[in-house]
């Protein structure tokens, strides 16, 4: 069986490949969206998972509560990814790359950063909910020490409790300012 950290790191690597394919000016537009996603997740706190739990109760799905909450968060993150990668999205104007190798490195780096924002957030909430996929038989605890240490480096885990929202908002404003004043 594949360790859970390998799966999440692989998915982050896939974002790196996507960044290399889409190039920095396009991928940076997605970064704005993913930063907004992280901000909304931080602002929503527990409300998003409680909302999905109530919706599941109303629909009479009869699923495990942690699984329902995890599905709600996964759907939310999945929708953001869909919005950012499908159709007309934010892009930065200009010619690219400044040089072939530096350009490729930046393409991959911004893709990996996006992967860290998206997959890292997903991993954090999956971990916090105790990996609800175990109810479907796709996962068996416990997680390894490597996974425990890596999950502490995910975006919701590293932003400070007190001023995390302020920090992510400042970063989002910075990205938007770059897009506007560029």
């Amino acid at each position: 069986m594949i360790p859970v950290e390998v799966v999440f790191c692989f998915l982050i690597g896939v974002f790196g490949l996507i960044g290399t394919g889409r190039k920095f000016p396009v991928e940076l537009g997605a970064t704005i969206g993913f930063t907004a996603m992280l901000l909304s997740l931080l602002l929503a706190g527990d409300r998003l998972s409680r909302l999905s739990s109530r919706a599941a109760d109303a629909a009479g799905l009869g699923l495990e509560e942690s699984l329902v909450r995890w599905l709600g968060i996964s759907l939310f993150i999945g929708l953001w990814v869909g919005f950012m990668y499908v159709g007309q999205t934010l892009t930065f104007t200009g010619t690219w790359p400044p040089s072939r190798i530096v350009g490729t490195l930046l393409d991959a780096a911004v893709g990996l950063f996006n992967g860290w924002l998206v997959i890292g957030s997903w991993w954090h909430y999956s971990h916090a909910l105790g990996y609800p996929l175990r109810h479907l038989g796709w996962f068996e605890p416990p997680v390894s020490a490597t996974a425990e240490s890596l999950v502490s480096l995910t975006p919701p885990a590293i932003v400070p409790e007190g001023h995390g929202v302020l920090l992510v908002t400042a970063f989002l404003v910075f990205l938007l300012a770059l897009r506007v004043f560029r």
């Binding site: 360790p3 930065f92 104007t93 010619t95 690219w96 530096v102 911004v110 400070p160 770059l178 560029r182």
Partner: protein, 251 residues
Amino acid sequence: MGQSISRQPAPRRPLPLLRGGPAPAAPWPAWAHDGTAGAGPSTPQLEALGFLGMGLFAVVGFTRGARREWLPLLVALCAFVGINNHWPAVVRALHTVQRLFQLILKERGAPAQDQAAAWSAASAPAGMVPIDQGAAVWQIGLFAASVLAGYLVSQRIGRSQLAGMVTLARLPDLVDRLVGAVLGAATGYVAGTFTLARLFPAAGIDLTGAQSFAHGYIDRLGAPGFFALVALFILFGVLGLGSRGKQVYGS
């Protein structure tokens, strides 16, 4: 979704020693002035050395700019992985080169009558580079030579657009230099870890993990520092977007 398997961390492989023999408990006392066998270098002392090295590399990176600094960093990382994890293979390759030189020098350029015999005669002497004891000096030398080569090659092929230090006030130049400094510091971190781990094997320094310098640095940097670094790299990329060129995005 994959199933998680709880795994024990792999046992740390002892590094080849600088002067051979078993690892001394603390290599520092040999340098002590009072002749007493005191304690080995403390973590703060090693961190200070590592920080000093990173600072020096960062200054070099600041003067050269980002477009030249990526290559030494890549070379340092490749050399670190190659020498640290595949030292026997590196030694074999070095011995092959050594044998070739010996063969050429012995025959003075003339083709040998019996090439197989000449090859075995040339390969008879023991290789210069040790695999275990005393390998650290060779490892440090080879690593330093690789990084130096990376710097020299990048000086030729890196297309720096920096003006002189006089025009430091220009935002693109300043950002280019700052990113160069960050990349240089990263090169210094890799080089410092590699060297100190061999000079002070008892300290158990690692590139990543709890025994690494980065562990402390990341803690001190915190989330604001991390996001500031990302913002710097993004600014560097955005300022690198030209108005003319091959491909125009977003028009």
